[in-house]
Amino acid sequence: MPPERRWLTVVGGAVVLTAVVVAAVGPALWMESALVMRTERLLEGPSWRHPLGTDQFGRDLLSRLLVGARPSVVVAFGAVGCATLAGTTVGVVVGSVGGLADQVAMRVADVLFAFPGLLLAMAVMAVVGPSLRNLVLVLGLVYTPQFMRVARASALAVRREQYVEAAEALGASRWRIVARHVAPNAMAPVLVQISLGLSLAVLAESALSFLGLGIQPPVPSWGNMLSEGRQFMEIAPWNAIAPGLAIALVVLGFNLLGDGLQELLDPRMRPEGL
């Protein structure tokens, strides 16, 4: 990997790490409350007391931004975690065993793929009702087919490798082959998919909260902060800029990290030919 690409990957990793740390300890970093309304301080600009200004209700935007990191990160990792677990397991198994199971699983994936991800998520959220847990599960469901396809394709390729044939010749059981030989060797593309999926999930969480289907007020999330701040774009732009930048930055971080991982793990993109 050329040095500047390596550098960018590190930056991406640092941004992601920061987001995770903020999500974990966010509210402790700034003493103002994210929920207290102060009618005497409506839509104030940045100041020492409120470095990012205040919102329509006089709430401190910095603390809201810090608290709002949590749903973004929790939903991103939770949803992608669910999708990885479910998608990869099913993908590797059906890719290895083939046959009817493979056909059925892929047709189900096709059905889920037929809907644009966000639209599907909106429809399901509207039915199950907004909550953090539902966001994680619904986005997990929406991203599962991607992981199924990636894992299955990878498993199909690995299955024809000589070491798999050798294991078969030695009389290893089908499940042992899947678990010990196919799965570990099919993981590289899944890792890349995880980092890309994370950036998509951050965006999806923001979008759903923006539309009122995600995190419910008064609990802040970057999506609902952007949604509320948008109408003050001209008279108090800091309301929309802060959450907007935070979303953009974290998505960029995940993407840089993903690109770096892809180069590291994909033999075709490795010029040294390891």
């Binding site: 309304m37 009618t39 409506l42 209700f57 419910q216 109408q231 003050f232 001209e234 008279i235």
Partner: protein, 502 residues
């Protein structure tokens, strides 16, 4: 030399164009609105956006002026020989857009069409005390009532009571896509979701009006774009209902902002059949828990007036809010009252709200924060408009943030809302004393005798609190400085566009 010839040629072209057109280009007044209308039949529509178009296309027997007093419209004068009879004398020579003359037959037909249950007119409940409509001659209409109703004229001034041309309805079935009115403008062109063009009615009965040749309604859903349209001159006027955009408009030198407290009332409703809200003491305690000024400052950016049960803009009847003790926030008292009612540690509840009307969610958030201070933990249920209406109809809510269409006559607003048999009493509120006052207020025709009745009723409603009454939002129009002659009526109506000049 060549330039001179070209200039002369251009001048000649302009001059000839002038001559052919025989007069200046038509004066067009362009109005930006944020919603398209679904239909134009005045007896059927319910949306605020539809009424704003109908204001220019139709007339009613009477209308409200900008002081919210009844004034003649198609009826030149009226008398009430007894409390159950109204006799209207129509203006003579009023013509429909088709050219036919308006007669008492059209008035009778219009009223009966609204009264016919098959029409499903929202206006039916406003005038269903009418027993019969008679037409002694071409220009006289006599209405007989089952019982006296003080708010009859107010009902007749409603947009749903527009007078339509009988022959047109018989021909077209309904008037959703065609116009059969007497209004100052006539429908010329309608491209849904884009624009609607109205042209001046040359036979309009108010002499010399309208003063512009065309009115164009442009549908622009985004509020900031509406303001941008007025700033750039693409629009002459725009209706704005988002506080942040009003703030912005007031900072701009190139636009004029007209504001007036409107007639709609923001309320926080209780389902009075669900615990703990069946207990009036709990509801009244919450009245002390909220700070209405803070709600106005945050959710409406100050562009609203704190109000009791009668919209504060109706000066004749509305009690000053200083007369309601619970309008001064008192957290300690609210806690004490909750404790006495059996809730020393507060309780949990849910607030249903929808983003459709500006500010609803913001109001819910402030109330949520204020209730937390007295130990009441409220969860927001943000739902889309269809679900909101559905839950409203089914009374499926603990509490709800609502914007109610008010009326200058207290009977019209309060009876249907708070009488135990009221059509829009979705609080399921039943209170004998309230019912009695509502019934007394509507049969008394003398405003001086009605005032004490409604004063008592307002105090009672604040205490029994089927809802917490919050405020009336301002009505806001943003205009180009060159626009003259426009006035806000105060109930949202735009009929003074007939007097506008630019």
């Amino acid at each position: 030399m060549r330039a001179l010839v070209m200039a002369a040629l251009a001048l000649a072209l302009v001059a000839s164009g002038w001559a052919v057109q025989a007069g200046p280009a038509p004066v067009r007044f362009t109005l930006g609105v944020d919603q398209e209308v679904v239909g134009l039949d005045p007896h059927i529509v319910t949306a605020f956006s539809s009424f704003r178009r109908l204001d220019l296309l139709y007339n009613k027997l009477v209308r409200y002026n900008d002081q919210l007093r009844i004034e003649p419209d198609l009826a030149e004068s009226w008398e009430t020989p007894d409390a159950r009879t109204y006799v209207f004398r129509l203006r003579r020579g009023v013509r429909f857009h088709s050219g036919a003359e308006l007669t008492s037959e059209d008035v009778k037909f219009s009223l009966e069409r609204v009264l016919d249950p098959a029409t499903r007119s929202p206006g039916r409940s406003y005038i269903d005390v009418i027993e019969s409509v008679e037409t002694p001659d071409r220009y006289t209409v006599r209405i007989r009532l089952r019982h006296p109703l003080a708010s009859l004229l107010s009902g007749l001034a409603s947009g749903n009571l527009a007078i339509v041309e009988k022959a047109a309805v018989l021909q077209h079935g309904n008037l959703q896509r065609v116009v059969a009115g007497t209004g100052p403008f006539m429908l010329a062109e309608w491209v849904p979701d884009n624009y609607m063009r109205l042209v001046r009615n040359p036979r309009y009965f108010r002499r010399g009006l309208p003063r512009v040749d065309e009115v164009v309604f442009r549908v622009i859903p985004d509020q900031a774009s509406l303001l941008a349209g007025v700033r750039s001159g693409a629009l002459d006027m725009a209706t704005i209902n988002q506080g942040s955009v009003v703030v912005q408009a007031k900072r701009e030198p190139g636009v004029v902002v007209l504001q007036k407290p409107g007639i709609n009332l923001r309320i926080f409703s209780f389902n009075t059949t669900r615990p703990p809200f069946q207990n009036p003491a709990v509801r009244y305690a919450l009245s002390f828990a909220i700070d209405r000024d803070a709600i106005v400052q945050t959710a409406e950016m100050g562009f609203a007036e704190v109000s009791g049960p009668v919209p504060a803009s109706v000066r004749t009847y509305a009690l000053p809010v200083s007369q309601f003790p619970s309008y001064r926030r008192d957290v300690a008292r609210a806690r004490r009252m909750l404790a006495e009612a059996g809730y020393p540690n507060g309780f949990s509840t849910r607030i249903v709200t929808s983003p459709t009307y500006e500010g609803g969610i913001a109001v819910a958030q402030v109330i949520q924060a204020q209730l937390r201070e007295v130990g009441v933990l409220a969860t927001l249920e943000q739902v889309e408009w269809g679900t909101y209406i559905d839950r409203w109809v089914k009374r499926d809510f603990d509490t709800m943030v609502e914007l109610r269409g008010g009326d200058p006559d207290p009977d019209r607003f309060l009876y249907r809302t708070f009488h135990s048999t009221g059509a829009v009493n979705n609080f399921l509120f039943k209170d004998e004393a309230v019912d009695r006052l509502l019934e007394r207020g509507r049969v008394n025709l003398d405003p001086e005798r009605r005032k004490p009745i409604y004063a008592e009723l307002q105090t009672l409603l604040v205490e029994r609190a089927p809802a917490l009454f919050l405020y009336v939002p301002y009505e806001t129009q943003v205009l180009r400085p060159a626009v003259r002659g426009f006035r806000l009526v105060g109930n949202g109506s735009l009929y003074y566009l007939e007097e506008v000049q630019k």
